[in-house]
Symmetry: C2
C-alpha cells in the first residue's frame, strides 16, 4: 500500500500547493475554498508523475487505488456514478504542471461515456444529438490523444458521413448519423489496436491519466521546457473534473476572459465566448467567438455573476486573471483561473497600476514582470515613413505586438531551415500546433488563418515576444503549392511580407523595421527596480555608439571593452598584421607604434561617452592567427599587399596554427611572450584617460583587465608591465591618476587559486563563456553538433552557454568569490559573460554577492529587473 | 638593525639545518661538532639570499654587519686577520643550496689576498711562487666569476707570458713571472671595469657573497632547477671558510673520495688525490690524479686518519659519503662531506647492504634511491667505449629513455616492412599520429621534429618503453625525398643513426647498445618497497604484450586499457571507417558487428595475460575524424578503397571537422550520439570475460570505464546501455559475472560534481592529462610554443603535464576524492594520466588517499618505489 497521498480532492488543496498539485489543480482547489462555483473533482499529484517515471513508466497499484478512492468521493459529492445508467458521472482529464506549459496533452472531455451512459445522457438532457456528438468526440479524442491513433482516420470517416448525406457542416448530422459514426469510430479503434474500445470508465480514466504522464516527456514538451528553463523532474499533475456542458443549447456557452486587457494592460474585462459550444471550440478557433461584452446582452445574470467573481479573483490573487468558464443551461461554472499572460507593455502598466492602487508594494510589483519580456519592448516597429506608403492587403487579430518583415514560409521546418541560412522569415500557417514550436522560434513573425487572441499561435507568440497576427481569414492558403492568395493576387514561398502584431495588419511587401520608443510605465517601473536592486549593471561595449546605447538603457559602466574588436577594423588590421609577422622586438614595436594613436583614440571616444562611469578595458585576447588569412589565395594577396614573400607569410601562418585555438596562445599569454603589446595598450588606456580628464574634467579611473590568467605569477608579470608603463606616463604628466588592474576569471585554475590571484588583482570579472567551455570540456563551436543529442536524451535540460550552470561552473564562481575575498575583502567582483543578461544567472550572481553584472546593451533593462527581483526574493 | 640571524659560524649549526644553511653549510657545521678537522668559517643563510632578491638584488646593511661580526669571530678562532701583514686570513667562498645544484657559482679560493698579504704568505710559506700563483688565480677567478670579465682575456695574458719566456707549462713560470702577471691581470680589471681591483678583503668578500646570490638566478641554474623540481624561492647559502693549502709542497695534497664505489656500490673506499695541488686541480682534470690507495704509501698517518674519519662519517650519516679533503703540510682537513651520487645499480646495492648490516631499516633504505634512477635499469644504453668516440649531430627533447640504433625510415609503413625484414629501424617523422602506431611498434627508436615531452610520439613511446627523442627542430626533414639534413649534411633512408632518449642526443652513426642486467639487489629492494607501500600500482596497457611486460615489472592490474589503439590496427580500421561513414543506425551496426569479434579477441588476450588481476577498459575516446584522412589525395584513395564517392567521403570528413578537437565530440559523447558503439564494446568486454573464465577458470571482474564524463546523467545514460547489454549476455550465459562501471575524472565539472557522479560510478580514475589541459586552459599540443616563455620568465617552474600541479589540478583531484567518498565511502580511486609515473605526483596520490596509480609498464617500478617512499614519509 502507498502511505503517501498522491490524490487530492479539490477541497483538500489550496493555492500554495502549486508544486504538488500543479498550477491548475492548486487554483481549482483555491476557488473551491473561496466558494466559487467550480465543477468538483480531484488532482493526481506531480509526485505521482515523478513516481510513474521512477517506476519505469508504470502507475503503481497504490496510486490507482487512491484514484479510485477519490473517484467514489467525487461520486458522492456530485451524486453521480461512473457508468451509471441513471445518473452517470462524466469527467474531463487535464494536465497541469507547476507552470503553464504547452506541448503536453491538454484535455480529454466527456470521459465516462460508453454505450450505456450515452443513452442516459441523451435521455437526461433530452438531446440525443448532443449525447452522440459528445460520445463520438470522446472516442476520437481518446483514440488520438491517449492511444495515439491518427486523427485523420476519424476525420475521413466524418467527412464521408457528411458526403453520404450530402451535407456540408457537422451540425447537419443528426443523432442517428452520429450514432452510426460512433460505431465506425469504434471499428477504427479495434482495427488499429486489436481490442475493443474500453467501455469501463475506470479503465478509460487510468489510461487517460497515464497518457497525461506520458505526454510530460514528449519532444514538444521537452523543447518547451528547455526554452523556458523548466526542470524535467518537476512532472505534471492531472486534474480530473466533473463535466459541465456549454453545448446544451442557447442558455449554455463557454468562454475565456482576462480581468484586464492582456495586450495593453487597460483595466477592463477582456474576453471571448461562444454560445452553445464546448471549451475547445473557443481555443481551436473553428468558430469565431463573440466579445465578452456581448454576454451582458445574452445572459445578463450570468454576466453580472461572472464580473463579480472575476473581480473577486483578481483581488484575491492580486494579479490580472486569465479565466475559463462554462455556462450550463444558465448556470455559471469557473473551470480554471490563473495569472494571465500579457505583453510587456501590459505587464508594466498592470504592475504600476496595482502599486498605485495600493494593491501591491513596489517589491511585489517587481516580481510581476518577467525580465525576458522586456526584450520585446526593445524589438523593432515599422519605419513610419515606409509604413505610410505601404498597402494593407489583409487584416487579422493583433495577437502579439511588434512588427516583422520577412520571406514567407509555410511549414515550421522551412522556416527553421531558411532562418538558419540567415534569412528573415515569416511563418504562415492555417493554425499552429505545438509541433510548430521550432519554426515559431525561428520566425520574425507568425501569421495564422484561423484562431483567436487565445489560440495557440497567439499565446505562444506573446510568450516569446514574437510578433503575431492570428485569425486572418482573408488569406486563402494552399499549403501544398506553398502559396496564399488574397483578392486574386498570389503570394509564393520566398516572397516578402510584413505583419504588424499590434494592429493585425498584413502588408504584401517588405517594410523597414525600427526600434520603438519606451513608455512612461517603463521608466516608473524600472526606477523602482533600480531603487531595490543591490547588483550594479554594466554593459559590454567596444564602441562609443554601443556605450551610448547602453547608457540609454540604464548601464552604469562598461564591464567589458574588448580591444581586439578595434584591432579588426579595416584601418588597424594592416598594422596588427605587421606586428604579427615581425621577426624582432624592434619591428614589432614599430608596428605597435602605428596602432597606439588609433587605440588611444578608441579609448578617448569611449571615456567621453561614459563620462565618469567606470570602464573596464580588456587587453588583447584572441590568438594571433585570427588576424591572418588561412587560404593560400588570400595569403598570396596579403603578402603582395604587405610587400613580403608568399613563403614568408605562409610560414608565419603555419607557425601560428593551433590544434585547439581555444586553448592556445591567447589572452595574457600573448603579453607574456610579447610584453610590448601590453605596453602599447597600457599607454593608450592611460594617455586617453589623461587627455579626456584634461579636456572634459571627468574624473576617470581606468580599469585594466588581464584576460585568461591561470596562475598568479602570470598576472603579476603582466601587471608589472602595466604598472611600470602607467606610472611612468602619469608621473611625466605631472598629475595624478588612479587606475586599477584586475583579471578575468575564466580558466578553472584561476578560480581554484583565486586567493592567490587576488593578491595581485584589484578586481575579478568572471568570464563565464570560457569558464563554461573549460569546465564542461567542450567548445561552444563544436558542442552545437552533439548537444542536440544531449537535449533529446535529457542529459542537459538547458544550454549552459545561455544559462549559467550553477552546479558546476557556478561552484567555481562561488568558490573564487569566497577565496578572493579572504585575501582582499573589498575586491570588486563582476561577471561579463553572456550570462550577465540571463535572469536566472543574474539571480545567481546576486546570491553569491557579486558587485555587478555586465551584458550587451540590449539586455541591460532585463538585467536591472532581474537584479531587483533577486534582491526581493533573497535580500542581501 | 637586523634582528634575524642571517650568519652562522660553523659551530653554531648542525646537519638538521639544511634548509637554512644549505647542504654544504649544514654538513660543515655537523663535522665541526663531530670534532672532525674542518677549516673553520661561517655560513650566510639561504634566507639572506631570499632577502637579497626581495630587496631588489641588494644585500642589506644589517646582513653586511652580521658578516663582519662573524668575520671577527673567525679571525679570533683562527688567530688570523683579514688583510694582516703578519698573519693574514684567507678564505674560500662557496655556494651551497639545500640540494647539490650545478649551474651556480661554485668556488672562489684565496679571497683575502692583496698586494700586502701576498708578500706575507710568501714569507710565511717560504714559497713566493705559491703565493703569487695563488694571487693571480684569485684575481682571475674574482674578475671572471664575481665581476663577469671574460676568462679568455686572462688566459691570453698567461699564454703570452709563457710564449715570451719560451716555455710550455704554467709550472715553468717563476715567482717573478707570476708577480708581473698579477700586474697585468689588474690592468685588465681596471680596463674592463674602470676601477681598481679591490685591495680591501672585506670589499672582496661582500662582492663574492653577492655574486653567489646573483648566480642563483642565472639561466643554467634555472634550467637545472626546472628539470629537477627545485623551487626558485629556496635560495642558496654562502659558505665562507678559512683556506688550507694543498699546494705547499710534497707533504701537502688534496683529493675527493667516496666511502663506497659510486658505480657498483662495492663497499670499499674509492677516490683520487693529487700531491701538491689545490682542490680545483683534481676536478679540472689538468693533472692525472692518483688512486686514494696510493696515499697509504705516501702519507700513512694521514691515510689512517682519513679512513677513520671516512668511516665515522658514513656511520654518522648512515649513507655513502662523497668527501673533499686537503692535507696542508701533513695535516689533514675535511673540506666537505655529503651523501654521494651513485648509479642506480650502486644505489640498490648500497641500500640493501646497509639494511643487511643493520645500519638502516628497510623504511630508511627505501628513501635512499631516487625512483627516477630506476628508469636507467630498464632500458638499453650505449656501449660506453663507442659512445665516447661518437659525435652528437643534433639535440632534441629526452622524451622516452633508453638508447637506440638503427636505419632511418620516414614512414610507419617503411619502418614496419623493413623491421619485418629483420632490420633495426629508427622511425623519423615530423610528428607522429595514431596511424603510425605499427611503425612505432616496429622501431627501435623514434625521432620527431615537432612536439614536446607529452606529444603523441613521446606518450606512446614511453608507454611502449621505446626510446624517443622528440621536438628535434635541428632536423630539416624532406619527407618526399626521404632525407633529412643537419648543418649541410644529408642523411638518407637506410642510413644508420643512433638516438639517446635519456639525453636527447642524436648521433649520425651506428653505436652499439647494451641491455642492462637487473641484479638480485633490485628484486630484494623492490620487495621491500612492495611490503611498505599502501598505494597499488597498475599499468596502462592496450595489448597482451604490454600487459605481460608490465606484470614482469610488478604491475598489479591494468588501470587503463585504451580501446581506440585497437581500432587503429590495420585489420580494424576499415570497419571503423565504415562505421563512421554510415548514414543510418543499421549501417553503423553492420560495421560494428565486424569489429565485435576482433575487439573480443583483444580482450581475451589481455585477460589471459592478466590472469585474475583487475583490468579497467576505457571505451572509445578520440573524436571520429582521427580515423579518417584529412588531405584530399588520401581521401580520394580511401574513397576508392571503400567503394564510395570522393564527394561523399569528403563531406563526412568536413562534417566531422572540429574547431577544438580536444573539446569536441569524443569520449562518452560518442556513445550518447551512437549508443550502438557502447553496446558493441560492452558485448566484447563481457563475452571475452565469460570465455576466458570458462576456458582458464580465472575469476575475472571487468571494470568498464566511461571517459570524458562531465555530468552524472551523461554517465547514467551510457551506464544504462552497458548494464542492459551486459546483464542480458550474462543472464543468457546461465552463469554469473561481476563487473564494475566507473568513470574517468578528467573534466573539471566532473571533479566539481563528484558527489553526484559517484552515485553512478563504482570507481573514479583521474585522467590528469586532460584534467590538466582543461584546468589550465591550454592544450598540450599548443602550449609547447609558449611554455618556453613561461619558464624563461619563471611563471611556471615545471611542466604541469609531467608533474601534477598540486595547487590547481591537485585541488580538483582532492576535492573529487572527498566528494566521491561522501557519496560512496568505498569508491575505488585511481589515476591513469602520465602523472602516475612521476614520483612527486605519486606521493600526492598517496597523500589524498587514492587506491592506485596506473602508469606505462616501464614506469611501474618507479611508481612502486615512489609509493613506498610516500608511505614512509607520510604513513597512512
Amino acid at each position: 500500500m502507498e502511505s503517501k497521498k498522491y490524490v487530492y480532492l479539490f477541497h483538500e488543496g489550496n493555492a500554495t500547493m502549486k508544486n504538488l498539485l500543479g498550477g491548475k489543480g492548486a487554483n481549482l482547489a483555491e476557488m473551491t475554498n473561496l466558494g466559487i462555483p467550480v465543477p468538483q473533482g480531484f488532482t493526481v499529484t506531480t509526485e505521482a508523475c515523478t513516481k510513474y517515471y521512477e517506476d519505469g513508466k508504470k502507475i503503481s497499484e497504490g496510486i490507482i487505488q487512491q484514484i479510485n478512492q477519490a473517484l467514489s468521493e467525487l461520486e458522492s459529492i456530485t451524486q453521480k456514478q461512473f457508468g451509471s445508467a441513471d445518473n452517470p458521472l462524466l469527467v474531463s482529464v487535464r494536465s497541469g504542471a507547476r507552470v503553464s506549459m504547452p506541448g503536453m496533452m491538454d484535455t480529454i472531455l466527456n470521459l465516462g461515456l460508453n454505450d450505456t451512459t450515452v443513452e442516459t445522457v441523451a435521455r437526461l438532457t433530452n438531446n440525443p444529438r448532443f449525447a452522440y456528438d459528445s460520445y463520438r468526440r470522446f472516442i476520437q479524442m481518446f483514440s488520438d490523444v491517449v492511444m495515439g491513433i491518427e486523427k485523420r482516420k476519424f476525420e475521413d470517416e466524418l467527412d464521408k458521413a457528411k458526403e453520404d448525406k450530402g451535407v456540408k457542416f457537422d451540425t447537419d448530422l443528426d443523432a442517428n448519423d452520429l450514432k452510426s459514426l460512433v460505431g465506425k469510430f469504434k471499428s477504427i479503434y479495434k482495427n488499429e489496436l486489436g481490442k475493443d474500445f474500453p467501455e469501463d470508465p475506470k479503465e478509460q480514466l487510468i489510461e487517460a491519466v497515464t497518457a497525461v504522464f506520458r505526454s510530460w516527456d514528449n519532444p514538444r514538451a521537452n523543447v518547451y521546457r528547455r526554452l523556458n528553463d523548466i526542470p524535467g523532474d518537476w512532472g505534471t499533475a492531472v486534474n480530473v473534473q466533473s463535466m459541465v456542458f456549454g453545448n446544451m443549447g442557447n442558455t449554455s456557452g463557454t468562454g475565456v476572459a482576462f480581468t484586464r486587457d492582456p495586450a495593453t494592460g487597460e483595466n477592463k474585462i477582456f474576453g471571448e465566448y461562444l454560445i452553445n459550444a464546448q471549451g475547445e471550440d473557443v481555443v481551436a478557433g473553428i468558430r469565431t467567438p463573440q466579445p465578452i461584452s456581448k454576454l451582458e446582452q445574452d445572459m445578463p445574470d450570468c454576466y453580472r455573476e461572472f464580473i463579480e467573481i472575476a473581480n473577486k479573483l483578481e483581488s484575491h490573487y492580486r494579479d490580472m486573471q486569465d479565466m475559463e468558464f462554462t455556462i450550463e443551461q444558465g448556470k455559471l461554472y469557473f473551470l480554471q483561473t490563473r495569472n494571465g499572460k500579457r505583453t510587456a507593455q501590459a505587464a508594466l502598466k498592470i504592475a504600476v497600476d496595482l502599486v498605485q492602487d495600493g494593491v501591491l508594494t513596489k517589491e511585489e510589483a517587481i516580481l510581476k514582470v518577467d525580465p525576458k519580456q522586456l526584450d520585446t519592448l526593445l524589438h523593432p516597429a515599422f519605419d513610419v515613413a515606409e509604413l505610410k506608403k505601404a498597402k494593407v492587403i489583409a487584416k487579422g487579430l493583433p495577437a502579439s505586438p511588434g512588427a516583422a518583415c520577412g520571406k514567407v514560409y509555410f511549414t515550421a521546418d522551412d522556416a527553421k531551415v531558411n532562418h538558419e541560412k540567415g534569412e528573415k522569415v515569416v511563418l504562415v500557417r492555417l493554425e499552429t500546433s505545438p509541433e510548430d514550436i521550432e519554426g515559431m522560434i525561428a520566425a520574425e513573425g507568425i501569421l495564422t488563418v484561423r484562431g483567436g487572441m487565445t489560440s495557440h499561435a497567439a499565446v505562444v507568440a506573446r510568450g516569446m515576444g514574437t510578433c503575431c497576427v492570428a485569425g486572418c481569414g482573408d488569406l486563402n492558403v494552399n499549403e501544398k503549392e506553398r502559396t496564399f492568395e488574397i483578392e486574386g493576387k498570389v503570394y509564393r514561398e520566398g516572397d516578402y511580407i510584413s505583419i504588424d502584431g499590434s494592429t493585425g495588419n498584413v502588408y504584401g511587401e517588405a517594410i523597414k523595421t525600427t526600434t520603438p520608443e519606451i513608455s512612461g510605465y517603463f521608466g516608473i517601473f524600472m526606477g523602482w527596480a533600480d531603487e531595490i536592486r543591490k547588483l550594479k549593471v554594466r554593459t559590454n561595449a567596444d564602441t562609443p555608439r554601443d556605450a551610448e546605447q547602453a547608457i540609454k538603457y540604464g548601464a552604469e559602466g562598461i564591464g567589458l571593452c574588448r580591444t581586439e574588436h578595434m584591432f579588426f577594423n579595416e584601418d588597424r588590421i594592416p598594422a596588427v598584421r605587421e606586428m604579427i609577422v615581425a621577426k624582432t622586438e624592434e619591428q614589432r614595436r614599430k608596428a605597435l607604434a602605428k596602432l597606439l594613436p588609433m587605440q588611444r583614440e578608441d579609448f578617448v571616444g569611449i571615456y567621453e561617452a561614459m563620462e565618469e562611469r567606470p570602464v573596464t578595458i580588456r587587453f588583447l585576447d584572441p590568438p594571433l592567427h585570427e588576424f591572418l588569412p588561412s587560404e593560400d589565395e588570400d595569403i598570396k594577396d596579403l603578402a603582395q599587399e604587405m610587400g613580403i614573400g608568399f613563403d614568408e607569410l605562409k610560414a608565419t601562418v603555419l607557425s601560428l596554427h593551433e590544434f585547439n585555438p581555444m586553448m592556445g596562445h591567447r589572452g595574457c599569454r600573448l603579453s607574456v611572450s610579447y610584453p610590448e603589446i601590453a605596453e602599447m595598450q597600457t599607454r593608450a588606456v592611460i594617455e586617453a584617460a589623461l587627455d579626456v580628464r584634461k579636456r572634459k574634467g571627468y574624473n576617470i579611473e581606468p580599469e585594466i583587465m588581464i584576460p585568461l590568467v591561470g596562475e598568479v605569477k602570470e598576472l603579476k608579470y603582466v601587471k608589472n608591465i602595466v604598472v611600470q608603463v602607467a606610472d611612468e606616463i602619469i608621473s611625466k604628466s605631472g598629475t595624478n591618476l588612479k587606475y586599477h588592474v584586475g583579471t578575468m576569471i575564466e580558466i578553472p585554475r584561476a578560480a581554484l587559486t583565486a586567493d592567490e590571484i587576488a593578491k595581485e588583482a584589484e578586481f575579478f570579472s568572471f568570464g563565464t563563456n570560457d569558464l563554461t567551455q573549460m569546465t564542461f570540456g567542450f567548445s561552444r563551436d563544436d558542442a552545437a553538433k552533439f548537444l542536440k543529442d544531449y537535449y533529446d536524451k535529457k542529459i542537459y535540460e538547458f544550454d549552459p552557454f545561455q544559462k549559467l550552470d550553477q552546479i558546476g561552473v557556478g561552484k567555481l564562481v562561488k568558490m573564487s568569490a569566497e577565496l578572493g575575498r579572504t585575501t582582499r575583502p573589498d575586491i570588486k567582483l563582476g561577471i561579463c559573460g553572456e550570462h550577465g543578461g540571463d535572469p536566472s544567472s543574474v539571480e545567481f550572481c546576486h546570491s553569491v554577492g557579486l558587485n555587478y553584472v555586465s551584458c550587451s546593451p540590449f539586455r541591460v533593462p532585463l538585467a536591472r529587473l532581474a537584479a531587483a527581483q533577486a534582491q526581493v526574493k533573497n535580500p542581501r
